[in-house]
């Protein structure tokens, strides 16, 4: 009896210890990411306008800025957000409102397939379908592959926000004698507008954070932003290329870009959380 209870206490203790240790490890990793981004990136970020607007300096020379890549990021994320919303909202509506129909089942499989594909595969597919025929990587191609990666997140969130509408309101909406699509798009979606806005923001967060889909679609034009159908770059791409170079100034620039990217992501995430927090049905 006694032996068992001592053993049990020991097991209990061990479980608590491992839980605490893993929590600490996660906390440590998270704060390390943030701290190094801050320590290394802040001095660069504090250069202000020259960091945000200028192109990178020459290898081994001055630090310069991330202007063209920032422009590329804003443009590709904006296009990807619009495109993933334009496709993801109807897809999410179908998944929620036409459940069981053939079209909805096909859409569901397609969305699952995209969600399960490694994002580099999405990049490769867009490369063969868009970059090869256009004969150039471009901000547009990058935006297309980012929107594909973001699509499942938007669709799933839209489906959830529609499913969250209580049956009593859903019944009231359907009792007004409107066509079904009008009921859904003009009554149910506005009823949970915050949920749908959250879905759109989630899509843009995804687009902002991904690197793999833009590796072979965006190009590597870090010096100038040429326009949406021309080679371009993004912040994540700049980090990928510059952080691994032997040039001190480029590595510092990469850290500045890391901090900027982290800040942009946190901004979007906090917006998303605030919206989602107020979704109450």
């Amino acid at each position: 009896m006694r032996g068992r209870s001592v053993k049990r206490r020991l097991v209990d203790y061990a479980v608590h210890l491992t839980t605490a240790a893993s929590a600490l490890a996660i906390l440590g990793a998270a704060s390390h990411i943030l701290l190094s981004a801050l320590v290394e990136g802040l001095p660069v970020l504090l250069r202000g306008a020259s960091f945000l607007l200028n192109p990178p300096g020459p290898p081994g020379g001055e630090v310069g800025g991330v202007g063209p890549s920032l422009a590329g990021t804003l443009v590709t994320v904006a296009i990807a957000t619009i495109a993933s919303a334009a496709l993801g909202i109807p897809a999410g509506v179908m998944l929620s409102e036409a459940r069981g129909s053939l079209l909805a089942r096909v859409a569901e499989r397609a969305v699952e397939l995209i969600a399960e594909s490694p994002s580099i595969v999405v990049g490769l597919v867009v490369f063969t379908l868009l970059v090869v025929p256009m004969r150039t990587p471009s901000a547009l191609a990058a935006a297309v592959s980012l929107s594909v990666v973001a699509l499942p997140y938007v669709a799933a969130q839209v489906r959830e926000s529609l499913a969250a509408i209580p049956l009593v309101y859903r019944e009231a909406a359907f009792s007004l004698g409107l066509q079904k699509w009008k009921t859904v798009f003009l009554l149910l979606i506005p009823m949970n507008a915050r949920g749908v806005a959250t879905a759109i923001l989630l899509g843009s967060m995804r687009a902002l954070g991904e690197t793999a889909p833009v590796l072979f679609t965006a190009g590597a034009a870090f010096q100038v932003f040429y326009g949406i159908d021309k080679p371009s770059s993004t912040l994540s791409l700049l980090i990928f290329f510059f952080a691994g170079t032997p040039y001190e100034n480029w590595r510092r620039l990469a850290w500045g870009a890391v901090l900027l990217l982290v800040l942009l992501s946190m901004l979007l995430a906090s917006l998303t959380r605030r919206l989602a927090g107020r979704v109450r049905m």
């Binding site: 049956l167 009231a172 007004l176 009008k182």
Partner: protein, 253 residues
């Protein structure tokens, strides 16, 4: 003679494996208040929702048999959507749209259906709110959220919302169940008024209310019709005769 407002034949409804309605056949004449009576869980709400097809919103629901609404077979005919657009509904719990103002709750139906806009719409909203005996209480705060109203006011708002689409048939699912006696009496008054212009199917488990408001109706028990006809006659049946007819109807199936 026009066709009845609603006619069901051998209507059965399942929720998954469990059957909520068993071969229900009723006929609702036009221009009357028709009561659907019976104890809790006997299938009154299910019958109402089978008439306007809202039952299909529920997971696993399945409908068999004939349902004719305003002369249209709503589970088979192509014109089902049009026929059902002439049917309004008021629910057991007041459920005004939480994201809309008082005005917009009433205006949304006609607006989205393109029935009226601008001044016309204002007039229609006022007309519906007056019909629902709510206008005087809300005319100075039409832009306030519907949730700022009391329960009884919210239920009258829901009646106005249904009236604004000019239904020929109004389905009311225990519209007074969640109200205090004063507000319930107001709604009953309203039902009497409205019955001059629209056919009303009123679900209630209150026999006295049925007597006060309805001329004909049906008594359900465990998803089966016990009897249909004038209210006084369906309510006067003895308990033993109810059991007998239930046993008989169960045997027939």
């Amino acid at each position: 003679m026009r066709e009845p407002a609603v006619r069901t034949r051998e209507l059965s409804v399942w929720y998954g494996q469990s059957q909520a309605l068993h071969s229900v056949s009723i006929t609702v004449p036009r221009g009357t208040v028709y009561a659907v009576l019976g104890p809790s869980g006997c299938g009154k709400s299910t019958l109402l929702r089978a008439i306007n097809k809202l039952v299909l919103l529920r997971e696993g629901a399945r409908v068999e048999g004939l349902v004719e609404v305003l002369g249209v077979d709503v589970y088979r005919d192509h014109s089902a959507e049009e026929a059902l657009s002439r049917v309004g509904m008021v629910f057991q719990t007041p459920n005004p749209f939480p994201h809309l103002s008082i005005y917009d709750n009433v205006a949304i139906g006609p607006r989205l259906r393109g029935m009226a806009k601008g001044r016309e719409l204002d007039k229609l909203v006022r007309w519906a709110l007056e019909k629902a005996a709510l206008w005087d209480e809300v005319k100075d705060r039409l832009k306030s959220p519907a949730s700022s109203l009391s329960g009884g006011q919210q239920q009258r708002l829901c009646i106005a919302r249904a009236l604004a689409t000019m239904p020929e048939l109004l389905l009311m699912d225990e519209p007074t169940a969640n109200l205090d006696p004063v507000n319930a009496a107001k709604i009953e008054e309203l039902i009497k008024e409205l019955s001059r212009e629209v056919t009303i199917i009123l679900v209630t488990h209150d026999a006295e209310q049925a007597k006060r408001l309805a001329s004909t109706g049906v008594l359900l028990f465990m998803g089966r019709v016990v009897s249909e006809g004038p209210i006084s006659s369906i309510l006067s049946r003895s308990y033993s005769s109810i059991i007998q007819s239930l046993v008989a109807s169960a045997r027939r199936q």
